[in-house]
């Protein structure tokens, strides 16, 4: 524990110093973090969990809707990060992007393997998303922005695509096929939705 705290403080100071000097600090820090993970430095994984654990947990929980199963999935994801860090290619994107894709894929595999019927889920996804946010509103993260608020003023079409991709793990072509929307439209709607959310989060 003491060791963790020291490492966190150390990393934090390092982060601050670099932030002062270079604006692209995150990548440098990430580079350091990845190196330490590759060297199987347990404190690096501990730091990674402290920083991103709740964000990944939130992403998985919104797909899975079951705390126990989500915990199981997140544990698997962190073990995968720990064991497969060698497969992460910084050239192709951020560490976080890699992690959240691992998380989302694991969550989606889990619900599909549990044969939770997609049709049932489709009908109630909006409700589920909102319920989860309400349930967790007290213990929810950081700055208390729920997905509901974020999606509130999205156009219905954009919201639909976002929910399908982000919460139900549909691929773009699956949405195009199942809901008879041109593939190009699916892509551009998702872009608009994410762009909107991005701005809203920054505000």
């Amino acid at each position: 524990m003491e060791q963790d705290r020291r490492n966190s403080v150390l990393l934090f100071t390092l982060h601050l110093n670099i932030t002062d000097i270079a604006p692209k600090s995150l990548h440098i820090e990430e580079h350091d973090l990845v190196l330490r993970l590759q060297n199987q430095d347990k404190s690096a994984l501990s730091y990674l969990y402290d920083k991103y654990g709740d964000a990944l947990y939130g992403a998985a929980q919104r797909i899975i809707q079951d705390e126990d199963v989500t915990s199981e999935v997140i544990q698997d994801v962190f073990l995968k990060i720990w064991n497969k860090i060698g497969m992460y290619d910084a050239q192709k994107g951020r560490l976080f992007t890699w992690m959240i894709n691992l998380t989302r894929n694991a969550a989606i595999d889990k619900i599909r393997s549990k044969e939770i019927k997609r049709s049932a889920k489709t009908d109630s996804i909006d409700d589920n998303v909102y319920t989860i946010d309400r349930q967790n509103s007290t213990e929810s993260s950081v700055d208390g922005i729920g997905v509901k608020e974020l999606m509130d003023d999205l156009v219905e079409e954009q919201r639909f695509v976002l929910i399908k991709v982000y919460f139900e793990g549909f691929s773009h072509s699956e949405i195009a096929d199942e809901y008879d929307i041109p593939l190009g439209t699916v892509k551009s709607r998702l872009r608009s939705a994410l762009k909107h959310l991005r701005h809203k989060v920054k505000l």
Binding site: L56, S140, D143, K187
Partner: protein, 272 residues
Amino acid sequence: MDIKEYIASGILEAYIFDTLSPQERAEVEALVVQYPELRDELNAIEAGLEDIAMATAIQAPSHLKANIMAAIGGEDEGQLVGNVSQEAPKVIPMPQTNTGVWKYLVAASVALAVVSSYMAYDYRLKWKSSSDAFAQLQAQNSQMAEQYNQVNNRLDELVADIDVISNADFKRVNMAAVDASQSFAASVYWNAKTDEAYLNIQNLKTLTEEQQYQLWAIVDGKPVDMGVFDFDVEGLIKMKSIKNAAMFAVTIEPKGGSVNPTLDLMQVAGAV
């Protein structure tokens, strides 16, 4: 190539979400190298995705991190002890062991509490479902016993009927329809030695609540009452004993029977 349009198509988001085919991925990667604007946009999308995930984080259960750290082989405490003990070898190990023991004790008791309350809950569920199942089985059992009794009684009746039918002393007298256009039929098993008589319906019409069939024997040219029966009885029906019967006939009579047969309503008849 119109970069703005390419970006607006949403293909970069699809790339980030990893939903492109390998061929499309390679295409995006090649273009990103070529156009710095695409690299910037990718960075912005990734940062946005991270911001969204951070903003919508949900606090994970507190034990999750401990589980994960334990799964990768515990925290790096061994190293810490090693480093520090070089400087102060006598002080550090004591509290270290203490907190270690307490930590495990607390963890063990919490785990025990969790496990036992789960088991209590689980056993209650199991007890409840088995008590329901037991009640259901009891109900089924009494129903089966009732059905068994019914079947058993019916079997006893049939065995008795077969005794009559297979007894050579019983003569079977067939009674055919009086109205030749009908296919009514019944028969009487009559034992001339003991005077016993049984009736068996093959086909008679349905009667109203107020009506019954009545069996008659013709003895010395006169009708003699042998008793009434309902239209829907099955098997052999024991009728009144009769001596010297020459003929049998069935009439429809008011419920309870009549003293004299209503000849107009004679349904079937047959000579011995």
